[in-house]
Symmetry: C2
Subunit: 351 residues, 2 copies
DNA sequence: CCTAGTTGCCGGAACGATCCGGCAAAACGA
DNA sequence: TCGTTTTGCCGGATCGTTCCGGCAACTAGG
């Protein structure tokens, strides 16, 4: 005992536990993690001793020996961060990881710019990955198992995918608008190169062609400031006065547009229908409340984490894809001329 | 070499580097971390060899030897999570940690319910801690260095504190409202037992007493759904028709209230002034845009992380407190009858 | 030239958990 | 009863890094 880097108060090791239980350290280890052959009586004694001494395992030592880290990484492009969907997603991931006794380490693009960067994790969850993002390329280069929420566009693939059929739900939304009297629905989509963004635009284009109406589409950056979005919407209705409905794809778009048009004297919900591709408190706060797709952030995060652990622990094969079903909340912003919809009616599930 | 848990392809150790550079492992270690006595020529050779071999350190081994983890924890009560302030805060923490080559591990209340819970980190950042939160008590019990954004109320203290003078900025906001013609400003505050919440209510009470006006205050849970907030606001104006201004303390409160009153025909910005204690995209999206305090989430997170590293590395003493200055964005929602304020004027800094 | 101090580098012992292989004792089969 | 297997437990090596102590070689002072 020449030196101790830090003589920590609560430094009870597995050897202490073993001694307290009157067994060897190997037996204590086996008993605690249920690995070797240990009699029930001995196991019980070890567990009791561990509890009594307040033993908590030294993860660094375990990591070193087992060549694992006990953590998974979570990468969130900064541009996406300011929306409720992603906050919920994060909670889904962290809660699920906690159930597996894993930590979650946040990975951001900044710093770590070195070429051979590899985060100190066993696997990674990606949120809505954009193929061009250099950080994502770097993460793929690590060779770690990676699960992404939405597919990664381009030649390279992630180990696992959790995806939703956004085209389907947008089509449902468009049909709903048509049913409520909208003849010329417009779309404000996002410029991001993600599967979600493309699926939305494709669904809109397909629907317009099938319905034989001229598309009115504008693009805005995902995190565009509300005034910019409002400017775009106003320009669109000036340019094409026949527009009688808006779908805002990204978070906050529909709410911002609704506010602008309402303050211009347009009657939202009758003369002009509004729907959002992403639900959030903004769609609920709007007057009237805005019909929206619930993108199930928390469930998505949980599912991604679960899939990653399945991959790490051999319960799933690389290449697996899971579908996450969504919901549409129909609200007064798409009531139409026909009738009235209460503030938050029973949900109608898509698919 | 009996077995390797995982025979990883890129497993280049510091011994490989040392051999490549023709020195002993000790010298290689010293050279890379600049610790011992190494001649410049040798250091250079080692660094070159490390780069050539693509050496990246095994953090588990380092952690084991040095009794550190290379990570800090970040605790965010789930109820707070759905606001932009906290997302920015997270980025601030993670970016700053990356600059110190530290990881950030998210800590959530779920799971880990065991008594002797201790996260695998060197220190912890708390966001707006609530004294009653049992998780916070548990974290305090770990004995790890803890920095909190806003003071922790109650007998126990954190190792370091980053705080803002919210009372000051709310007073400025109230004075601004008065200046613009408001005689009976109402406050919708938050029920959370945080320093921020109390400071806000205290500042309002003090100002009302000094100005000799009757206070009109309501409380709502921090994450109250917008319809509930709107209901509260409508009840307040029905009850006290003299109210001519609202301050919504929490994120989204002011925007929700503004929407409700506007749709009731109240002219926001002249007949009724609106201000928010927290800036977000919702205050910008509102028509008219809403005057708000910028709570500097990103800067707060960065400052907390920096202070934590200062404490960890002995550059700061326990008990230190840092003040984070805020800003007020004056917007059209508080233009008043007198004149007109453009959508986003030059900022006016408080104190 | 001799001693004391400095510089540059190295061997080896930790850190705490895991797990391979071994070895008694107990259980089993005939 | 005597081999053979199974059970229960253990010693010791190992993961990759850090850092203490030591040891030559060199420098400086007198």
């Amino acid at each position: 005992m020449t030196r101790k880097p830090a003589p920590p108060a609560g430094a009870v090791t597995i050897i202490d536990v073993a001694q307290a239980a009157g067994v060897a350290k190997t037996t204590a280890s086996d008993a605690l993690r249920g690995h070797g052959r240990v009699s029930p009586a001995t196991r019980e004694a070890v567990v009791a001793a561990a509890a009594r001494l307040g033993f908590s395992i030294n993860r660094s030592a375990r990591s070193l020996r087992t060549a694992t880290t006990g953590a998974i990484g979570l990468y969130i492009p900064q541009v996406l961060a300011h929306t409720e969907h992603y906050m919920s997603f994060i909670y889904g991931v962290v809660n699920e990881a906690a159930a597996f006794d894993y930590d979650v380490t946040l990975i951001v693009a900044s710093g770590h710019a070195k070429h051979g960067y590899a985060p100190h994790v066993d696997g990674i969850v990606l949120i809505d990955p954009v193929a061009e993002d250099p950080m994502i390329q770097r993460l793929l280069d690590t060779g770690l198992p990676i699960v992404s929420s939405e597919r990664l566009l381009g030649p390279r693939q992630t180990t696992g995918v959790v995806w939703s059929n956004h085209a389907h739900y947008f089509t449902l939304l468009l049909e709903h608008l048509a049913e409520r009297g909208a003849r010329h629905p417009a779309l404000i989509a996002s410029t991001t190169h993600s599967e979600w963004s493309f699926a939305v635009q494709q669904a809109y284009a397909d629907w317009c062609r099938a319905a034989d109406v001229a598309p009115h589409q504008a693009l805005a950056p995902f995190a565009a400031p509300p005034p910019r979005l409002q400017e775009i919407a106003r320009a669109m209705v000036t340019d094409a006065p026949e527009i009688d409905a808006f779908i805002g794809a990204g978070d906050g778009v529909a709410a911002a547009v609704a506010q602008a048009l309402a303050s211009d004297g347009v009657r939202i919900g009758s003369r002009m229908l509004i729907a959002s591709g992403v639900d959030s408190s903004a769609t609920l706060a709007a007057q009237p409340p805005i019909t929206a797709i619930n993108t199930q952030g928390g469930e998505g995060g949980q599912l991604c984490a679960r899939l990653l652990f399945d991959l790490l622990q051999g319960r799933a094969e690389p290449g697996v894809e899971l579908e996450l079903p969504l919901e549409i909340y129909y609200r007064a912003s798409t009531a139409g001329n026909a009738g009235h919809i209460s503030s938050r009616p029973g949900r109608k599930r898509g698919s």
